[in-house]
């Protein structure tokens, strides 16, 4: 039994979960900033991303060293490869949270449209839920749980579509135009976070089944704005 190797793997996985927790915090911060039009908090979110990046880099280096030194095979190899991907997805999510924070700052002085504001918060909560499901299914090696991410993603997509319909109505109002256009990007960003969560679920499935497959059919027409 290669105890020290196992310890290294465990440590990497723990770091990854830690990164996931940071992503959740940074996303929550971004959503709060958006809701309260809090520029200060938005700045903090942007600064906090450095911590995520640092952890991301550390995990990346750890995986590189592990591959070079331990030559993992079988389940160990799949775990390392899955972690390599999950790490990247989490880092992207944090970047999206920063995007939301930046957009928030740009329109902080505009009075928002309450229904739209409402559906953005709803999407944000769904995205958070998806990140949690993705991280838990990875931690628990739970294939069924990972597969539920597809349905959750469907919900975000639907909210996103509804959001776009409402935008089409509002874009004619000049005082709201800028805010609406910026918020389209926020909506799109939240939808992308959901996609990354699904990708993490796919990595969990790969780890457990050793099969490469997409949860959603790639040929299926994607419905983005």
């Amino acid at each position: 039994m290669r105890v020290s190797f196992q310890e290294e793997l465990d440590q990497l996985e723990a770091s990854l979960q830690e990164e996931g927790a940071l992503v959740l915090r940074v996303l929550r911060g971004a959503l709060n900033a958006l809701e309260q039009r809090d520029v200060e908090l938005a700045d903090e979110v942007i600064a906090f991303d450095d911590d995520v990046d640092r952890l991301y880099l550390q995990i990346e280096l750890g995986i590189q060293t592990l591959l070079a030194r331990q030559t993992p095979v079988a389940t160990d190899l799949r775990l390392v490869l899955a972690m390599l991907h999950i790490n990247l997805h989490l880092e992207r999510m944090a970047d999206y949270a920063v995007t939301i924070a930046k957009l928030t700052k740009l329109v902080a002085d505009v009075e928002p449209d309450p229904p739209l504001q409402q559906s953005l918060q709803e999407m944000g909560e769904r995205a958070e839920e998806m990140i949690r499901v993705a991280l838990d299914s990875f931690a628990d090696r739970d294939l069924d749980r990972a597969e539920t991410l597809v349905e959750l993603d469907e919900l975000i997509d639907r909210t996103n579509r509804r959001f776009v319909e409402r935008v089409v109505e509002l874009v004619a109002e000049p005082e709201l135009r800028e805010w609406v256009l910026r918020m389209v990007l926020v909506s799109r960003t939240l939808e992308r976070i959901g996609d990354h969560a699904v990708d993490i679920g796919e990595q969990v499935a790969y780890l457990l089944t050793a099969e490469f497959r997409e949860f959603t059919d790639a040929s299926h027409p994607e419905e983005h704005v």
Binding site: R2, G29, E44, V45, R54, T65, A68, R69
Partner: protein, 278 residues
């Protein structure tokens, strides 16, 4: 606002590198030869306390000669000559008045083939303490050494049985127990797992990982992956052939193991670790 306060994640996951390294061996311009054959030359490197330092390289690169200089085992070879300095805590190992027996007592060695004495398991471990006059609490000393070598549980009920009845991997761990029974500071391992099967090899590698909390380890191995797995720092030796056609081992690169195996700075190291050598 509370959840947004940055936490110092860096401090928690930083790989454990000792802040201030204590140098155990400071090797300066070492040249070792047998008769007119130069085995290694121009070796400069420092070996640090409580780390595993691996020496890798192709056959004939002088890595075995090198490690045997560190406890003066080469003195036994007729025609051996050494130039340059090997400072052990600042004291020249080959200096005047340095007794090779004292040197070897502090710098233990484990060899390629397990070489237990044809005695009982107990007597194998107790042999060196006895001749060195460490007879007090001998039983405890033997037990501690066997535990240190992760062998105690397997042999505690047959200490009075012949050591030759043990498996190869157990014999090698017995040799490690024998070496640490006199509490050396350094343990030199000359290809300690090359005669063992993969499972026994894994147990030796695991043991090295545990041993470095108490000892400074230097391991010679022809198995690169083994160096990659167990060593904190790795030295790559290669064979350097001069204009006259005479070959001698030289130190090519010495760095953190992770660095050496992901981004070696010398082309020769790169070729060797990627298997493009020669």
């Amino acid at each position: 606002m509370a959840p947004m306060r940055p936490v110092d994640v860096a401090a928690q996951t930083e790989p454990s590198t000792p802040q201030s390294r204590e140098t155990v061996f400071d090797i300066q311009g070492l040249k070792a030869s047998y008769g007119s054959n130069v085995a290694v030359k121009g070796v400069d490197l420092e070996i640090y306390r409580n780390l595993v330092t691996a020496v890798i390289g192709p056959s004939g690169c002088g890595k075995s000669t090198f490690i045997r200089c560190l406890n003066r085992m080469n003195d036994e070879v007729p025609g051996f000559r050494q130039e340059g300095k090997i400072l052990y805590h600042g004291i020249d190992l080959y200096g005047d008045g340095v007794d090779q027996i004292e040197v070897r007592r502090r710098i233990g060695m484990v060899f390629q083939r397990p070489n237990p004495f044809p005695k009982t398991i107990y007597d194998n471990v107790a042999w060196a303490p006895r001749i060195l006059g460490l007879k007090k609490d001998l039983d405890e000393r033997v037990e501690k050494a066997l535990k240190g070598a992760a062998l105690w549980d397997e042999v505690k009920d047959r200490l009075k049985k012949s050591a030759l009845a043990l498996s190869g991997g157990q014999q090698q761990r017995l040799c490690i127990a024998r070496a640490i029974a006199i509490e050396p500071e350094v343990l030199l391992l000359d290809e300690p797992a090359s005669a063992l099967d993969p499972i026994a090899t894994a147990s030796i590698e695991e043991l090295m990982h545990d041993l470095k909390t108490d000892y400074t380890l230097v391991i010679v191995t022809h198995n690169m992956q083994q160096a990659a797995r167990v060593a904190d720092r790795t030295a790559f030796f290669s064979l350097d052939v001069d204009e006259s056609g005479q070959g001698a081992g030289v130190l090519v690169e010495y760095d953190e193991t992770g660095k050496l195996f992901t981004a070696p700075s010398d082309k020769r190291t790169e070729d060797y670790v990627t298997g493009r050598f020669g």
